[in-house]
């Protein structure tokens, strides 16, 4: 499970995250949505150790990231928005490293990459792959082996239709295996199809949360549960209202939506 408490972060004097709280249970999929610069990537970077937590606390699988960083990171997988690995890295070298970190055999990582259609590119460097292939490599490796938490930052970015389907399959499999999944995305339709719960971030504050029906209602729209939900319109209404009325942060974004 993932537990984020009172997270705050600023880049220089610009505060990008303000008292952010979130619980994600094992087997639950939560999506972070929000406009550019809302703080979605910052949440994920703080939760995975990419940024040092100055204020607040992060717990992964019961281990505090500050006091037990190795134990906490052993239980998480992370796909950053930016590549996060040198372009000169050979795919098989990275696969061996990740396999060792998860305590699985390297051949298991090679097989997973093979299943994703990358078996012939094991000796290539990441720089020799297309953007979509790179994204697939990192996605497969981020979700390799048993993990308590999976963090994905714009996982479907630069992927074709097959790649997007793979992302959805990986997220569903992780959920079925009891992994807590937290991902950020701009693709609201995909998000609505995948997430048990969505958290809307505006200017570093969580301003709304819930399942599709709840967010549609929160946006002041009607939906009878059949057909495509008007999630885009509801999202825009929530963001506009939050910006017009000032930021009203949710005290704790934790309750699972039935």
């Amino acid at each position: 499970m993932i537990q984020l408490r009172g997270l705050q972060h600023a880049y220089g004097s610009h505060r990008v995250l303000d008292d952010f709280n979130l619980d994600v249970d094992g087997g639950e999929v939560v999506a972070l949505v929000g406009p550019n610069g809302a703080g979605k990537s910052t949440v994920l970077r703080l939760a995975t150790g990419g940024l040092a937590v100055a204020k607040g606390a992060v717990e992964i699988g019961g281990f505090d990231l500050a006091s037990r960083p190795i134990d906490a990171r052993r239980r998480l997988g992370y796909l950053p928005q930016k590549l996060g690995v040198s372009l000169s890295t050979v795919v098989s070298d990275l696969a061996r490293l990740v396999a060792a970190s998860r305590g699985v055999a390297a051949v298991e990582a090679f097989d997973a990459l093979g299943d994703a259609g990358l078996g012939a590119r094991l000796d290539a460097t990441l720089g020799e792959l297309s953007g979509g292939q790179r994204q697939r490599v990192l996605l497969v490796l981020a979700s390799l082996g048993p993990a308590a938490a999976l963090f994905l930052d714009e996982p479907a970015i630069s992927l074709d239709a097959d790649g997007s389907a793979d992302v959805q399959a990986i997220i569903r499999r992780a959920r079925d295996e009891g992994t807590a999944v937290l991902f950020a995305s701009h693709h609201l339709t995909d998000v609505a199809a995948l997430a048990d719960r969505m958290v809307v971030l505006v200017d570093g504050c969580a301003v709304a949360q819930g399942g599709v029906a709840q967010l549609v209602a929160e946006g002041g729209l009607q939906w009878n549960g059949t057909g495509a939900p008007p999630i885009e319109a509801a999202y825009r209404a929530i963001v506009m209202r939050a910006r017009a009325g000032g930021r009203v942060p949710l005290a704790l974004v934790g309750a699972r939506i039935a």
């Binding site: 970077r45 990419g50 960083p69 890295t89 061996r96 060792a100 970190s101 963090f151």
Partner: protein, 267 residues
Amino acid sequence: MTAALLRFELAGARRARVATIFAAGFALAGIGVALAGLSAGGVLSVQGFARTSMSLLQMVIWVVPMLALLTGAAAGSEMRDLEFVAALPVSRGGRVFSRWAALTATLGGAVALGLGAAGVVIALMAGDADGWRYLRLALVSELLLAATLAVGLWIGIAASNRTRALGIAMAAWFVLVIGMDLAVIALLSALPAKGVGAWLTAVLLANPVDSARVLGLSLFQADAIAGPMGAALRRVLGGWGAGALMLGLLGWTAVPLVLAGRTLKRG
């Protein structure tokens, strides 16, 4: 896990072109210096190990810190962006050590390969007399490389971006190779003669490049060229001078690595 990361970093460092450039550069420089050029009679002559080592020392003092500081700064700066690797269960100190060890092994191997290739040519053409001096020169080069790589890594991790890191690395090179010597000359003229030796020795140990320079010169019992630094060192530390300098260089390796690990943790 740190062992797995070390293997990963070694694989990455081996692929970097800088190692090949290091090896080729040192081999060419070694052979080039050994070939003393056409003598007055128009016959190509080859210097032995003693004179070649003395000539190469100056190049080592200038070139090794520059390449190591720049390589370290670039590698350290990159570490801040490697979030996929940062999320793996390895301590920040382990990440810094793995990267430093991989770069030191690869670039150190390249220096050894380059100087070794030149050494074979020298031995074949001029004999192996004084070969030990050449070997010790290689050891001094490796110690200096390890220390300045560690300093470069720290600079790269502490700087806010790659451009700034490289700029600070160049400034550090200037200070270590030239600036501190100028400061020492000023110090000599400002301080009373009595007690200057201890100050100079402290300054010497405070600069890894000067430590390597005097350590290198001590191979040749070259008292005259060791200058005031070497004279002060001998007076203050006596026969322990070389050991103190080597310890100083090891300190200049360990301390920046610890600081780099802490800085990466805070970042």
